[in-house]
Every structure is written in structure tokens, then in C-alpha cells.
Amino acid sequence: MTALSRLARAREAGLVVMLVILFVVVGAIQPRFLTVGTLDIILLAIPLILVAAMGQMMVIVARHVDLSIGSILGFASIAVGMMFRDVPELPLWLGFVLGIAIGAALGFVNGLIVALFGLPAIIVTLGTLSLYRGLIFILSGGRQVDPNHIPEALIRMAQTSPFGIPWIVIIAFATALLAYVFLRHMRLGREIYAAGSNPDAARLRGIRVNRVTLVVFSISGAMAGLAGLMYAARFGYVNPGITGVGFELTVIAAVVIGGVSINGGIGSVPGVVLGVLLLGSVSVALPILGISGFWQDAIYGAIIVIALIVDGSVRAGGLVRLVTGRGE
């Protein structure tokens, strides 16, 4: 095995270790944390982040970033929520299809602007973050979709399924599995890594880098759309000013903690799944430890910064020197 893949494995192993430490430490302070009930809460906390993280990691592996997913999530959930309200007989599956399609379309627009004008994604999606959020207010007239207009069947998906685990958890992990197969075993998936690793070389090799850009942003949008439906299922309402606000930060945090390089070309689905689990577990552990919600954002931020420092030092060999006291 080579240094880099060993590093990737080390990253995944490191995340597992961090998860174990988290459970041991929090469990020691507050034994209530180590119950099946906690696991349920954690599993319910992560599906939205997990599906969106699958899209976001593809965008980041391709050397871009998608800041607009919170607004796409909001837009898709408002639009589909309004359809459910106005057309109560709309089948549930069609709602999902529409939500994913709306998300994909908005993501496609992101990709198109980035690819067509060669603009940095961070600026483009910062713009569409506001743009799409504005459209949500225009579309909804500023009014939220109330719980009585969200179909019962959709809300039940966040509560149960024939397998005892809520549907949205199953969907989230199934999505991760699909993402794994796509990124690991399909040609288009590998082209995302190639384009992110060295766009110039990719172009010279006949890889259509612009197509890769369109694909990753469309997938990221589609995943945000799916997360929008999950939001409606889980919270039972959709609010133009609340739904999806700040979501992008959590998702990008999870992706980065999961070992995806912000410089593109590196990242694995198992790593990101572990990153999401870690972040989800922290979010559940904090209230159980009695840490106020005010602290949560600060702690999230600290975790991201620490993850980046660890990542950077590992790559530069700095951590090795720090730990072993030896030169390179």
C-alpha cells in the first residue's frame, strides 16, 4: 500500500477512533448517552446531512464548492410543500421526484454559470445562495407550509418503516451506497477525481471537465432537493426564512471532517459517512452533556478548524514531526 492510500485509510481509522473516544468520554460523564435511544436520535439527526454531503463531496472532489445547498433545500421543500398543499392528491413518490428534479435544476444552473464563465464556484454559489433564498420568499409570499398541509405519509417516513428504522434513514444510507458505487466503480465517477486532481491534464486526456462540473453541481442540487423532502418529513413544516438556513456549513464541515481535500482530487464515501456520523454524534452529545445550544456553532467551528489543521499537517508531514520529533 502506498503512502497516500495509507493516509486515506488512516483518516477513516482516525474517525472511527474519534467516534469511540466520543462515546466513551460522553458515556462516562453521562451514562444515558450509551442507550439505544441515543442511537435513534443520532440516526435521525444525520439523514439530511448525509444525503447533502454525498453531493457536496463530489463538488469538492471536483475542486469546487457548493454554498447554495441550504437555499436549494429550502426552495425544493417550499415548492413541493406548496404542491402538496394545493394538490392534496399528489402522489408521495411524485413529490420526491419533483423535489429532486427542482434541486437538480437549481444545481445545474450553478454548474452552468461556473462552467460557462469559468467563475470560482465559491462566489457563484454565494450569489445563488441569496438568489435562491430570495426566490423562496417570492414563490411562497413569505408564508410557511403548515404541518396540516404536509402529507401524513411523508411525516411517517421520518418515524417508521417496515424494518423498524425510519424510511429517511434507510434512504440516506442507500444514497450513500449509490454514491460509493458511482464514485468508485463508474467511469464518470472516476472522472470527477481526475478533473479535481488535475483539470489541465484531464482536459488533455479528453475528459470533458465542463460536463463533470455540470454533473457534480446537478447531483449536489438533487441531493439538496431530496434533503428538502426529508426536512418536511422530519419537521412537519417548511418555513421560507428558516428551512435550510446555515445548512451548507454543517454539510461542508462533515465533508471536510470526513477527509475530503478542499483542494480537490481526494475523498472517499466511507470517510464522509464517518464524518457525518461524528458530527451528528457531537450534536446529540452536547445537549445530553447539558451544554447550551449557544455553544453548538462554536464547537462545530472548532471541530472544522481542528480537522483542517490535522489534515494539513498530516499532508505536510508536520504532525509526524510534531509527534515523533524527527525531521522528514
Binding site: 502506498t2 492510500s5 477525481y193 486532481s197 489541465d200 486526456r205
Partner: protein
């Protein structure tokens, strides 16, 4: 592989313009199967542009390419690959995070976009291709962990994967060690014996002579001459490249040397160099010869304060001095032009003028502000004096040829009016014409009373420029020669590690 009668590749009237400026003026060239054909020329002569046209990176403005007698349009690198033409770039254009096997096959596969990646077949095929080259590289290794030479081998293996008829190598040996070059040559000769056509772009005449059958010289976008290598002497080739004889350039004016400018005594840094002592006088060019890894660059970096020595003394103008970081060195009038300009020298995306003035902000300052007018004038002056060839001083420096980038870096350090100039491989990868200008410039700097420490692996260069030559081997000084007593053989004797000899 079927070899049709007549040349494998014929180009007729190939011309190329960039933004209205024609850089290639109608190239007629035949390339034969089973032949290694050298392309020579100064930077900007058009040889790389021509190579890129053959490889589908650029499209010709006019002209025709015939492959095995049939006119072809090569619209993209992928089409070139399908036609059996592969360009191997000087810096391997690879995917650093992907495995060797993936690097071999990514892009242009037959697989459908949503098709499965045949991991197992890819690994087997990769192993087969690499074995066929007779090198040992793990197909599952990640590309960034490989040496440049191994990365190049992967590029060559990739060309073979596509069953290439024409392989174009753009300065493949520049980043390689002598042993790696030997391996590369063995492989290139094998490819030739398999009936492939090879185009070999290089600045090193001895390599061309050792390897190539035909040589074609480009100058200013024209093909000057094509001939069998054996029909031309080195002087002929240089004359064709630069349009006048080499002797005009290569002469050293004996500068009168003055007082001691720099002296080091017992300089030691564990693992890098041991007990280095020498002195350098004003107006003197002191050459430092040695094999790669002999510790020459480490000594330069120590004197400049990048990685200071652990023991020993540095005297500047006769007084003992502590140099703990580059800032101290600059203060004492030392300038260091590093070997790897891409890493240590240039700000690639910044314009040429800002690159030039970067080391001497005070020359362009007006109070606390930068004066754009002074920056322009200072840069224009430097560009003029070093005859840097460019389209505009506002052009990003990354767009200039290597030699002109190097001149810009030298210009930058000259702005600080250094009394001691350390040049580390200043002409590596630079063609003969620009080299000659560099030599003139170095002579002139010494003539002005500056002290020059010249680290170079190019022995003729040292013999031409240096007043004295030090030789390092495995971190120690092993010999010192005066200009009169030095010759290539003596230097190599001293440079080759004793234990290995």
C-alpha cells in the same frame, strides 16, 4: 505494426498564429517510422508549438498533416491518441491523487460514461505495460508518490497502451538524473526498434548526438535545416540555432579581482555538508561543481540563511557575520537565485513587472505607497537591460519561456544591487542563445566588482565563466582548480564519490 512505404508523418506548410502573431511559418517535415528525430531550437523557436500541433493540443492555422499518406485533421489530444500520436510533456501531466493504473487509463476509455470501471482488468493491463518497459513501478501506487522519472515512465506506458505510432517527447530529460536518463534512452531505443517514430525535443546536444538519427533545427518559427545527426557538428547545430557562431559568445573577460567579499570557514550542517571553507573576492566568479546531491545547494542555502549552518563562520567584507535568515543575508548585500524557479523564484500569476520589483520594494516606493509609474519604469529598464522577450510587462510571468523567466528573476535580484550574487544552476533548461546572454551578463556583473558564486552542473559553463572552480562531493570540498588547471576530466574525478569509485 504495418509500416507503409514513405514517411509515417508528413507535414506541409503547417503554420500557427496566436492572437494574430504568426509563430510558425509553414513547416514541411517528414518523420519516419523507426527513427528518432531531434527537434532543436531556442526557446520560442516554435518547436514546442509544432509538437503540440502534431499532438492535437493546438490546431494549425493552415497547412496539412498526412499520417501514413492520408491527410488527417487532429482536433484534440484524444483524436491524436486514436490516430496513434502521443505527446509526453516535460512535466508529466498526470493526476497526482490517482493510482498509476488509473493514470494510464483515465480519459478516452471505451467504457460508457456510466459504465463500470474495470478495476481488475486495468490493474492487470497496467502491470503488463509497466513490465514491458522493464521498470518496476507498483500499478496501485499513487502517482504523487513517484519520482519524476517514474511518472515519465507511466506517461510512456500510457503512450504504449494506445499503441502509439508517433511519440513526441518534449524535453524529457530535463528533470532526470543521469542514471534515469540512461534508462529512458534504453526504452526510447527499444521503441524505435519496434518501428515507432519518435520526436525528441532537447536542449542538450550530447543527448541528441547519443540518441537521435535525424535532427531538425527551428529558428524564429522557421524550419532551418533537417539533416542526419552525423552530418552536423555541434558548432554547426549551434550556428543554425542562433544564426551566428558560438565563439562570439563564449569568451571570458578577465576581471581584476579585489578584496575578499565573502569567506566561509568550517561550515557544517549535519547530513548536508561538512567543513566547507573558501573565500570569494570582489569581481571574481567562483564556480562550484559536483554531482546532484553533493550538497552545493545546501551550502548556498546556508549562506543565504534559509537553512543556516550548525557550525562554522561566515565573514562578509572581512568581518564575522551571523546570518540567521534570508533577511540578514539581503541586508549584507547577498542575493540568491535559486535552482527551481517555479518553487522558489517566481510569482507565476503576477505580471512580469511586479515580479521584477518584488525584491526591492523601496525602489518603487513613494512614501508608503507603491508608485505604478516607477514600477513601470524600473521594470522596463530591467527588461531592456537583460533583453527579456515578452509581449507586455503586464503579462503574467508564467506565460514567458523558461529562459526569460530566469532572466526576470535575475533582474529582480539585480535591483537590490547585490555585492555577492549566488546563482544556482542559472541556465538549466535554457537554450544556447539565452545562455550566451546570461554569460555576458554574469561577466559584466563580475566586471562591476561584484562577487559571484556560480553553482552549475554544466561543466563547459563553469570552465567558460569561473575564475576558480571548487568541487564538492558528498557534502565535502574535494578539489579546487584555477581556471588554467581545470578541465572536465579532473573535475569529474573529484566529483565522483570515492567510496563508489
Amino acid at each position: 505494426m504495418s509500416v507503409s512505404p514513405g514517411p509515417l508523418v508528413e507535414t506541409r506548410g503547417i503554420a500557427k498564429s496566436f492572437s494574430g502573431v504568426e509563430v510558425l511559418h509553414g513547416i514541411d517535415l517528414d518523420l519516419n517510422a523507426g527513427e528518432i528525430h531531434a527537434l532543436l531550437g531556442e526557446n520560442g523557436a516554435g518547436k514546442s508549438t509544432f509538437a503540440k500541433i502534431l499532438a492535437g493540443v493546438h490546431r494549425p492555422t493552415r497547412g496539412e498533416i498526412r499520417l501514413a499518406g492520408e491527410a488527417v485533421a487532429i482536433g484534440s489530444p484524444l483524436e491524436a491518441q486514436r490516430l496513434g500520436v502521443t505527446l509526453i510533456h516535460q512535466e508529466p501531466l498526470s493526476f497526482p491523487h490517482l493510482t498509476v493504473a488509473e493514470n494510464l487509463f483515465v480519459g478516452g476509455e471505451e467504457t460508457k460514461v456510466l459504465g463500470r470501471v474495470p478495476w481488475r482488468r486495468m490493474a492487470e493491463e497496467a502491470a503488463r505495460l509497466i513490465d514491458a518497459l522493464g521498470v518496476s513501478i507498483d500499478p496501485q501506487a499513487v502517482m504523487s508518490g513517484l519520482s519524476i522519472a517514474d511518472q515519465q515512465m507511466v506517461e510512456i506506458a500510457r503512450a504504449l497502451a494506445a499503441d502509439t505510432r508517433l511519440i513526441i517527447m518534449d524535453e524529457p530529460t530535463a528533470p532526470l538524473t543521469p542514471r534515469e536518463v540512461a534508462t529512458l534512452f534504453d526504452i526510447v531505443r527499444r521503441l524505435k526498434s519496434e518501428g515507432r517514430a519518435i520526436v525528441f525535443i532537447s536542449h542538450r546536444l550530447e543527448e541528441v548526438r547519443a540518441l537521435c538519427d535525424q535532427v531538425t533545427v527551428f529558428r524564429d518559427g522557421d524550419l532551418v535545416q533537417t539533416a542526419p545527426v552525423s552530418d552536423l557538428t555541434d558548432d554547426d547545430i549551434i550556428r543554425l540555432m542562433i544564426g551566428r557562431p558560438l565563439q562570439d559568445y563564449l569568451h571570458k573577460e578577465a576581471a581584476p579581482t579585489g578584496n575578499e567579499a565573502l569567506a566561509v570557514k568550517g561550515l557544517t550542517r549535519a547530513g548536508a555538508f561538512t567543513d566547507i571553507s573558501f573565500s570569494l573576492r570582489k569581481g571574481e566568479v567562483l564556480g562550484v561543481a559536483g554531482l546532484v546531491g553533493a550538497g552545493r545547494t545546501d551550502v548556498a542555502r546556508a549562506i543565504f540563511g534559509i537553512a543556516p549552518a550548525e557550525e562554522g563562520e561566515i565573514r562578509i567584507d572581512g568581518s564575522p557575520t551571523t546570518i540567521g535568515e534570508p533577511d540578514d543575508a539581503i541586508e549584507h548585500g547577498i542575493a540568491y537565485v535559486p535552482e527551481d524557479r517555479a518553487i522558489a523564484g517566481i510569482f507565476k500569476t503576477l505580471p512580469v513587472d511586479q515580479n521584477i520589483t518584488a525584491a526591492a520594494p523601496e525602489t518603487i516606493a513613494r512614501g508608503p505607497f507603491v508608485s505604478p509609474r516607477r514600477e513601470r519604469e524600473t521594470a522596463a529598464d530591467a527588461i531592456d537591460r537583460l533583453s527579456i522577450r515578452l509581449a507586455s510587462a503586464r503579462q503574467p510571468i508564467g506565460e514567458l519561456s523558461g529562459g526569460n523567466q530566469q532572466k526576470a528573476i535575475l533582474a529582480r535580484w539585480l535591483l537590490t544591487d547585490p555585492q555577492i550574487l549566488i546563482l544556482d544552476e542559472p541556465t538549466r533548461g535554457i537554450d544556447v542563445g539565452v545562455k550566451a546572454e546570461f554569460y555576458d551578463r554574469i561577466n559584466q556583473l563580475a566586471g562591476e566588482g561584484r562577487a559571484v558564486l556560480l553553482i552549475s552542473s554544466d561543466l563547459p559553463e563553469l570552465l567558460t565563466l569561473a575564475d576558480r572552480i571548487l568541487v564538492m562531493s558528498e557534502g565535502r570540498l574535494t578539489a579546487e582548480f584555477s581556471r588554467e588547471e581545470a578541465d572536465q576530466e579532473k573535475i569529474m574525478q573529484a566529483a565522483v564519490p570515492r567510496t563508489a569509485a
